[in-house]
Structures are given as structure tokens and as C-alpha cells.
């Protein structure tokens, strides 16, 4: 690509197969891409597998190769039915690993947070609650637990907080409704909870205690509907239908 100056570590590669990528990049087979090699050398005409990060998107694609090896496409393609599915499974696995608690269950209620409801009932409305288009509009969902896949067992119910807002900052966080069934990957990281529960604009309006100790599920893959969850090969832990049974 003209935007990238030619150099001894810059090569042009004809893509035979995309093994793992987001959907927007998975149809590059048959196209030339510019590869910037971080290490090692390649021979013209040889086949390789490149582990790379895209850098520039223009008339064509420029990627930086973190590593490369002699191609073994048959072994790799067996696992890769669709490049974006492979990546999605990997990301879901990462969310599973990062979660404090992973449960299967059913959403039985969704409501405003109890402290907000109590304040409203008492008429204890703050003098001014900051108004921002990035307000998360925090809700609390109760989940009836049918299986615990990770974390402390024995729970019958778990509560989580989530942003109902469709603002750009929050729209990708799963929105929960009564009757939803699936696998919930819950995170209690305090920092994440602060972001999720308070949001930048409402920080001053909520008491400190509200930000601590709540489960959240902010990433789009933190909730998997039942029909999607059972088929993820990267997460054998989910292949169970009752607590403790495999």
C-alpha cells in the first residue's frame, strides 16, 4: 500500500486463508495485504502462517506480524469453521477466565436499584442530579441460578447491575429482561463496577456504598443465551446442565 514505505521488513502477501479474525476481516482470502515483519525473514514464493495485528486500513490492509511460521493450514483449518467464530469463542473464553462467578440461570426480575427506589419513596430526591447523555441508567436484575460453572456454589439467586442506557458508552453491555435464560459471566472488579454502576455523570449523586460489591456483566460476551453457550468448544465448563454435574 502506498501509505507504507517499502523496507526490508515490509512484504506483500497473498492471503490463502484467514484462520481467526473479526467478521469484517474474514473475507481477505485471495487478496494481497502488506505485512510488516517484526522478526525473522521469509522467502518469496513460500507459504507461511502469520500471527498479525492489523495496523492500517486503506485501499488495502497493512498488518504487523508478531510472528510467523511455515504454514500448516490443514491442522489449523480443522478447528476454524469460520474465522470470526473462532475469535468469538476465544474472547468468550477470556471473559469466562476473568469472571468471578459464572452461572446459568433465568432472569426473574429487573428493577431500579433498591437505594434509588427507597430514596424516591422517602422523597429524598437530591437537589440536583447531574444530567448527562452518558448516564448508564443502572438497573438491578435477579437471576435464579440453575448451575454454577465457576465460583462459590450453593447460590439459588444472584443479583447483578447493568446499564439500561442505549448511549454509545453503554449500548453493548447486555440488557436483561425477565424470562431471559443463559450463562452469565459476572465480574465484581470494583473499578469496573464503579464504571458500570455510577457512570461518570452520576458519581456525585450516588452514595459510595452503591459502588462496591455488585456483580456486573458489561461485555457483550458476558451473557450467552443457552443455545449459544452449550456449543462453545473453548468452554467445556459450560457443558453441564446441573450444578456440580459434568
Amino acid at each position: 500500500m502506498a501509505a507504507v514505505p517499502a523496507g526490508k521488513n515490509t512484504i506483500v502477501v497473498r492471503v490463502d486463508e484467514v484462520i481467526e479474525s473479526l467478521e469484517v476481516l474474514e473475507d481477505y482470502a485471495g487478496h494481497d495485504v502488506t505485512v510488516q515483519l517484526r522478526t525473522g525473514r521469509v522467502k518469496s514464493g513460500e507459504q507461511y502462517t502469520f500471527y498479525s495485528n492489523p495496523e492500517i486500513f486503506g485501499e488495502s490492509l497493512v498488518v504487523q506480524a508478531i510472528a510467523h511460521e511455515t504454514a500448516v493450514p490443514s491442522a489449523l483449518t480443522r478447528a476454524a469453521a469460520k474465522p470470526s467464530s473462532t475469535l468469538r469463542d476465544k474472547l468468550a473464553r477470556a471473559r469466562f477466565d476473568a469472571a468471578d462467578l459464572v452461572v446459568a440461570g433465568l432472569v426473574t426480575s429487573v428493577r431500579v436499584t433498591p437505594e434509588a427506589a427507597t430514596a424516591a419513596a422517602r422523597g429524598a430526591v437530591p437537589k440536583w442530579k447531574p444530567v448527562s447523555e452518558h448516564d448508564p441508567v443502572t438497573q438491578e436484575a435477579a437471576i435464579q441460578v440453575t448451575a454454577v460453572h465457576k465460583g462459590a456454589r450453593g447460590r439459588k439467586e444472584v443479583k447483578l447491575r447493568f446499564p439500561r442506557s442505549t448511549d454509545v458508552r453503554w449500548y453493548q453491555a447486555p440488557k436483561f429482561v425477565v424470562g431471559q435464560q443463559g450463562v452469565f459471566m459476572l465480574h465484581t472488579d470494583e473499578k469496573a463496577a464503579k464504571v458500570a454502576v455510577r457512570g461518570a455523570a452520576v458519581a456525585a449523586a450516588l452514595p459510595q456504598a452503591d459502588t462496591q460489591g455488585f456483580h456486573t456483566a458489561l461485555h457483550p460476551l458476558d451473557f450467552l443465551p443457552l443455545n449459544q453457550a452449550v456449543g462453545v468448544p473453548a468452554m467445556p465448563e459450560l457443558h453441564t446442565d446441573e450444578e456440580g454435574e459434568q
Binding site: L22, Y28, L91, A201
Partner: protein, 484 residues
């Protein structure tokens, strides 16, 4: 006497005709900024902004709510090295690895000598407002974070170079400000230092309902004159989370500083004769909805006021302002007003233009004082993107850049088109950016359009990289240049 009158009238008519002819002679170039390499993308790339390197106008940077296509640790800039004729994405805006948001609100600005690009963002993940800088916008190195803080909204960046030093101004709505006076400008008088300092200035001097509006818009003139516009929210009603919130009384305030924002009492040069306080109340007691999300009646776009300010490059006393309200009795969601001051903001004209059912107004003046006004108007469930131009503020032409469905594609988040778009002048020419539906239909772009991504205008289908597989319509950023 009668003959003289006739001659005068004829002269005036001829002048008007000449003016119209001049306006019509402009050359319009419009391009969809999504590069070919991302032909399969379907993201809602809304809320665009733009900056042009005035030392080399071939270098242009655009921004939008566009995630890194590879979910990397940085969000992309749209970069052009050929005056906007082609665009590529370069992911150097600090974000969060794996973020499919990319970045929250973002605006950027070059300094005046081509050496640095500055930016203000709400960072993905933390939501913190961060001030950014790079000396090489097209290299793969991430922009440096100069400052970071919580609780602020809509960073709006403008930078310049004066006396060899970069002046950087970032307007915002800072919820940490005491007393509900949240309209804020952070500024550095030497942004090029390795660790520049930013001074935080509260430009609101009056009481508010509890906060200002999110728009704080600073603008700079080469002679050191700074202006900024913001909304003073005075009263409100309704429930924001229930989408019934209305600002029932707001003033539009313009402040000025005659020493690059560096006066002992910054932004107090303009005093309102009515109350003796700094900041001219251009209009008072205005009403408009402030929506959490758009509806069918608003073309899916959330509405929350609109402000844009521009100063004439040839005379810093001449200032134009766009502001929005919902006039009493009006059924429109927002009406845009264009007004002008010829005396450094002391007094303001009646409306030069009044545009109902419109939002995302942006105004600019070129090197000969010509005015251009960009806005998006909802008409018959279509978003129509206009640029109106005038030499004198009285006679305006009207270019339609895009006329796209307001119902398709369905929004994936708010804001549908963005809480702002942008327009600026480069010498005599105008450059701008807006977001709109990307269905490749020439009837949607009456002044022509260029697509980089694969598209079949005959079948009105977007196509993946393979040139065959259809891609659903989405919202894309469009760059335009009007050559005067």
C-alpha cells in the same frame, strides 16, 4: 431622481445576481470515508469531527465513533494525506484492548505549524476525559495522554500556534465544577512542552439549575481573541431517564478573552450590560428537550440543543453563532438560529437564518469573510444534510449534500448521527464532515459522491471485499470539500 433610483435598484439586483452566480460556481466534493479494506463494516460511525492542517491542507484528520476493526488497544483516526480524496484508518487513539466501542466523544485539532495534533476524548472503559497529543498522526505510535480526569463530557478541542507556542483549548461540561457552573475550558499556553500544564477555567459566572449544557465551544482568532459559547441551564422539568427531560429556560452565553485566554481574569472581556456579569447573554429563556435517546419523531436522533461559533479570519470583531431551541408553540423538536455580531460579541443581530426541525449545526467563515452553515434537517422521515453559504448574511444559497432515510438503518446506539458534526474553512474553501446512512444510491447525494468501500450504485447495495456478498446499510462518516 427616478433614473438614479432605477440605476441603484438595477445595481443591487446585479450584485445579488453576481453573488448568486459566485455561490453557484462552487465545486463540491463528497466522499464516504470508510476505506475499501473495511468494505464489510456495519458499525454506526456517528458523531464525526474534523481538523485540517492549515500549513498543509492535504493533511486532514477525521474522527467518529469507530472502533478499531481488530479490537486493538487503540481507536482509529481517519487520516487523509491528499486533501480528503482518499482516507485510511490509523489506530492511535488510546482506548482499551478488546473494546468494541473504540472511543467515546472525540474531537481533534492541528496546531498551526503542522507539527502536532491534539485531541480530547472520553476514553473507552474508564469514561475519563483525556487530552492527547501526537507529533506524527500517520505513524502507528499511540497518542500521548497529557491529562486525564473523571466526570466531564463533550471535550471540544481547538489548537493553534502563537509566538511559536502551541495554544490548546478544550471546552467541556465538567461535573466536578463547584456550584453547578460546569461550563469549562482547559487550556495550555504551551502544549508542545514534554509535560504541558493545563489550566482549568470555569467560564460560567451565573447561577444554574445545577449544571450547564454539554456544549462548551471555544474558537480562536490569530490576533489572540478567544470566544466561547455555552448554554446556561436555568430551569428544567421532567425525568431524563424516562426521556421526558426538558430544559425549560436556558440562556446562550458568549464569553471573550482578548489575550488568548491568558488574561488575569480569563474570558471576562465581554460583560453583559443587563446584569454586569461576564458573558454576553445572546438570548435568554430558551426551551428545548434534552433526550436520553432518539425516537421515531426525531428521526432516531437524540436532541439536546446545539451550539456552534465562528470568528471571521479577517476581522476578529465579526462573530457568527448558531444556537438551537424549541420555540414556544412549535411542534418541531429543535430550531436552529444563525446570528451575527459585528462588535466583538457586544450586540447580536436578529436571526439571519432560522431552520426548523434541524440539528448538528456548524458554522465557519473563510478567508474572505464568506459564511458557510452546515446542518442536518429532518424532512419526511429523511435526514437532509445542507450547506448554506452567504457573502453578506442576507442572501444564502443551499447545497444538499445528502438526503438519506431517517428510519433505515435502525440505530444501534444513541446518538444516531452524533451530538455534533463539524465545518471549517481552509483559506477560501470549506471542509466538513457529517454522518449519514450509507446506502449507495446516487439520488441520496444530489451533488455526487465517491465511495471507497465496495458499493454497487446500480443495485444500491454495499458489498464485502469480495465484491459479491451484500453488506447491510449502516451510518458512515462523509467528508466534503467546497472549493470556492
Amino acid at each position: 431622481m427616478a433614473a438614479k433610483k432605477t440605476r441603484k435598484t438595477t445595481k443591487a439586483r446585479t450584485a445579488k445576481k453576481k453573488s448568486a452566480a459566485k455561490l453557484a460556481a462552487s465545486n463540491v466534493f463528497l466522499i464516504n470515508m470508510i476505506p475499501k479494506a473495511l468494505s464489510g463494516e456495519t458499525h454506526q460511525d456517528s458523531e464525526p469531527h474534523l481538523t485540517v492542517n492549515l500549513s498543509n491542507t492535504k493533511q486532514i484528520v477525521g474522527t467518529a465513533f469507530t472502533p478499531d476493526p481488530a479490537l486493538g488497544p487503540n481507536a482509529p483516526l481517519y487520516v487523509s494525506q491528499d486533501g480528503g480524496n482518499s482516507w485510511m484508518l490509523n489506530s492511535i487513539v488510546p482506548s482499551t484492548a478488546g473494546s468494541s466501542l473504540g472511543t467515546g466523544d472525540i474531537t481533534t485539532s492541528f496546531n498551526s505549524n503542522a507539527s502536532r495534533l491534539y485531541g480530547g476524548i472520553l476514553r473507552s472503559g474508564s469514561g475519563k476525559m483525556e487530552f492527547l497529543r501526537t507529533s506524527s498522526f500517520s505513524s502507528p505510535s499511540a497518542m500521548a495522554v497529557l491529562k486525564s480526569r473523571s466526570n466531564a463530557d463533550q471535550p471540544f478541542t481547538t489548537a493553534t500556534t502563537l509566538g511559536g507556542k502551541d495554544r490548546v483549548y478544550i471546552g467541556s461540561n465538567d461535573f466536578s465544577a463547584p456550584g453547578g457552573r460546569t461550563a469549562t475550558i482547559d487550556q495550555s499556553m504551551d502544549g508542545g512542552l514534554s509535560a504541558p500544564t493545563f489550566k482549568t477555567i470555569r467560564v460560567e459566572k451565573r447561577s444554574t439549575v445545577g449544571q450547564n449544557g454539554p456544549q462548551t465551544r471555544p474558537i480562536f482568532h490569530a490576533d489572540g481573541t478567544m470566544y466561547a459559547a455555552f448554554y446556561r441551564w436555568r430551569t428544567s422539568t421532567g425525568d431524563f431517564q424516562a426521556n421526558t427531560f426538558v430544559v425549560t429556560s436556558a440562556d446562550v452565553i458568549v464569553v471573550r478573552d482578548d489575550n488568548s485566554g491568558n488574561s488575569p481574569q480569563p474570558y471576562t472581556a465581554l460583560v453583559d450590560a443587563g446584569d454586569g456579569l461576564a458573558g454576553k447573554r445572546v438570548v435568554t429563556g430558551k426551551r428545548f428537550p434534552f433526550m436520553i435517546h432518539g425516537t421515531g419523531a426525531t428521526g432516531q436522533q437524540r436532541i439536546g440543543g446545539c451550539l456552534s461559533i465562528a470568528v471571521s479570519p479577517v476581522n476578529s470583531s465579526i462573530v457568527f453563532l448558531v444556537w438551537g431551541d424549541k420555540p414556544a408553540g412549535s411542534t418541531d423538536f429543535l430550531t436552529l438560529h444563525v446570528t451575527r455580531s459585528l462588535d466583538r460579541g457586544v450586540s447580536w443581530s436578529a436571526d439571519l437564518l432560522t431552520i426548523p426541525s434541524a440539528t448538528n449545526g456548524a458554522i465557519a467563515l473563510n478567508s474572505v469573510g464568506k459564511i458557510a452553515f452546515l446542518y442536518q434537517k429532518l424532512k419526511n422521515f429523511r435526514w437532509v444534510t445542507h450547506v448554506q453559504r452567504s457573502i453578506d448574511g442576507a442572501t444564502w444559497d443551499d447545497l444538499i449534500l445528502a438526503d438519506t432515510s431517517a428510519t433505515n438503518p435502525i440505530k444501534t446506539f444513541d446518538p444516531y448521527l452524533g451530538d455534533y458534526c463539524h465545518l471549517l474553512a481552509t483559506g477560501k474553501d470549506f471542509c466538513g464532515i457529517f454522518s449519514a446512512g450509507n446506502t449507495p444510491n446516487l439520488a441520496n447525494f444530489p451533488n455526487g459522491v465517491k465511495y471507497q468501500r465496495n458499493a454497487n450504485f446500480a443495485t444500491q447495495r454495499l458489498l464485502k471485499l469480495d465484491g459479491v456478498t451484500p453488506v447491510p446499510a449502516s451510518v458512515d462518516p462523509f467528508f466534503f470539500r467546497i472549493t470556492e
